[in-house]
Amino acid sequence: MIGKNPATSCGAKYSSYIFRDMGNANDYLLTVENLKTYFPVKKGLLRRTVGHIRAVDGVSFSIRRGQTLGLVGESGCGKTTVARTIARLIPATAGRVVFNEVDVLSADRNNLRQLRKDISLIFQDPFGSLNPRMTVGSIIGEPLKVHRLATDGDLTEQVAALLSKVGLAGDHINRYPHEFSGGQRQRIGIARALAVQPKLIICDEPVSALDISIQAQILNLLKDLQEEFGLTYLFIAHDLAVVDFFCDVMAVMYMGRIVEQAGPEKLCRNPLHPYTRALISAIPRIGVSANCRLPIADCQLPIQKSQIENRKSKIPVGCTFGPKCSLAGPDCLRQPPPLAESSDRKGHFVACWKC
């Protein structure tokens, strides 16, 4: 896709740190290795590519069957790009994505069709993600027809069954999206995702647009469906408390890289990476004073200079959090730290030279 690919040159460095004790590869439904997605920056009259934004820069993780991996981070850190790359909605620059022993990134037309059935998505905005001119019945029925999962005869029946699964009434089938509240629309989105009987559902901020009491209902629904159908989730959110509640494994992203990965109880109680520590202490919590926050140098996070790499400087410089980090030493700015298991905490991975 990109002529001289800068990604391949610094590739192998991040290789399989996570997969050391992974045992049987079959336990994992999805494995992502060193995934990179770069967006070209175009300039001038001829729209020449003058550099790349490293939206995702060497991300590796894997999800066990029936479990949930939570991806957290602030806006612009690359969470959604990871999800979209895995679903092949955006072309990847480098790396490998293995889903159910199929290489996703090199899948051909037929394989891709099967993958589209096995991986489905739930989107953030319940208002923008449903076609306003389609009835609920046709929104949920469309994937059933496309994948030939229903005949014309039993389509209505199947849609009604899906609606009742997500807690909506059968007579909602002929209504339009505008007739529903935000929580109900998110339920329609969930029913649509469930229609194809997927193995993996990518939930991209499924509850962040909802009110607290509705958020709890939707989270409970997703948990029930996981138990009933043995679903695996890739759960993307910016709210750490939600991910802490919902996920089996949690990964914190910062500027296109995973900086820390562990079980939620480890990560939320004992965060190791300085960024995770600052992030957790910045969350307004009930019963915790605002004064016990860790300082974080300057948190404006538009596209960072170090994320854009131009022709002149192709070498990535050090830890992306380095310039803001209070612990950073000269080493940190020289080489990016790999995601490695902490020496005294098993199963706790952190990308920091100082941890």
Binding site: G183, I212, S213, N220, A241, A282, P284, G287, V288, L301
Partner: protein
């Protein structure tokens, strides 16, 4: 038990405590109606009986509270419960032709804001009371530089020349934590990040040293770390200038950490007011209790084996057009749904302990 009597009592008790002197703002019995084309239904009969014609949705109903000098007063509630309508009523910025204040008083510096002429109100709005809006990206004018937009308020309200106003604008930008303010003042809003845009909004709002700042979801669109900085900034400004802040938020964590007093709103009504620590440690209204229970807590211990679930409030927020009778929360309430009184008679907000108000028949000390 007459509902109107209790409201009078409540108002009387505010007056009695002689705290009115220390109050920056007091809102008394505020009702706001939005006009709608929708067919009037059973739930509308009250609005109709006031003679406002068909299709008036009560967006704010009998809301009374007061904010003391230098206090952060948080208004918490789910979307559509009337938080923003309350704020707009105070600013007298409710969309004309679509809505109006039906009754009530808004007392600010001894005057009822609702009785002022538009000309008098213009002298207060932006100079003594100012507002930070929810979405900075859509609230800033895209065709003027941020410096222009801040200087405009200074020129209008402080009788300063353009050059002086521009200098002041840069100084205020520095105050809200924007580096290199002279250069930033020349930028257009789209060049700034969300956090910076919100800082500009706050700069604009505090440019004339208001005594009351209304911050409508000032951090909802922002990241956690930026949110903490913006809230710190508001807190610092309050300490420096002694201004009061009406903080509108749906985030209970923000309210708990930053506010002195928290008021909870449900279906256009206030259901509970208390000191923030008391309210969150020991909520008395079932709605507040439900909200706190349905919130996932960071680092909370797992409840044990099996699938963990959050406790929820059953059902959904009722539409303003189809409100249930009696207590508006009773169909979703765990304790009141079977109680005849909860279903028939609406409880008014009443002081149940010194400094604590609740609107629930079953709250301790309510009767």
């Amino acid at each position: 038990m007459n509902g109107d009597d209790t409201i009078l009592n409540f108002r009387f008790s505010i007056g009695n405590r002689r705290s009115a002197i220390g109050n920056q703002l007091s809102v008394e019995g505020l009702c706001v109606g939005f006009f709608t084309q929708a067919c009037p239904e059973a739930g509308l009969s009250r609005a109709k009986s006031r003679g406002r014609g068909n299709g008036v949705v009560p967006a704010v109903q009998d809301v009374s509270f007061s904010i003391k000098k230098g206090q952060i007063f948080a208004l918490v509630g789910e979307s559509g419960c009337g938080k923003t309508a309350t704020a707009l009523a105070i600013m007298r910025l409710l969309p004309a032709g679509q809505s109006r204040v039906v009754q009530g008083k808004i007392l600010f510096e001894g005057r009822n804001l609702l009785e002022l002429s538009e000309k008098q109100m213009r002298l207060i709005r932006g100079s003594k009371i100012s507002m930070v809006f929810q979405e900075p990206a859509t609230s800033l004018n895209p065709v003027y530089t941020v410096g222009d937009q801040i200087a405009e308020a200074i020129e209008l309200h402080q009788n300063k020349g353009a050059d002086q106003a521009w200098e002041d604008a840069a100084a205020i930008l520095r105050k809200v934590g924007i580096a290199d303010p002279e250069r930033r003042a020349l930028e257009y809003p789209h060049r700034l990040s969300g956090g910076m845009q919100q800082r500009v909004m706050i700069a604009m709002a505090i440019s004339c040293n208001p005594v009351l700042l209304i911050a409508d979801e000032p951090t909802t669109a922002l990241d956690t770390t930026v949110q903490a900085q913006i809230l710190d900034l508001l807190d610092d400004l309050r300490k420096q200038n002694g201004m009061s802040i009406l903080l509108i938020t749906h985030n209970l964590g923000v309210a708990a950490q930053r506010a002195d007093v928290v008021a909870v709103m449900y279906a256009s009504r206030l259901v509970e007011i208390a000191d923030s620590r008391q309210l969150l440690a020991q909520p008395h209204h079932p709605y507040t209790q439900g909200l706190l229970r349905s919130l996932p807590r960071l680092g909370s211990p797992p409840t044990g084996s099996g699938v963990e679930r959050l406790q929820t409030i059953p059902g959904t927020v009722p539409e303003a057009l189809h409100l249930p009778g009696g207590c508006k929360f009773h169909p979703r309430c765990r304790v009141g749904c079977a109680d005849m009184r909860c279903r028939k008679i609406e409880p008014a907000l009443r002081e149940i302990q010194p400094g604590r108000w609740a609107a629930c028949w079953r709250a301790p000390g309510y009767e």
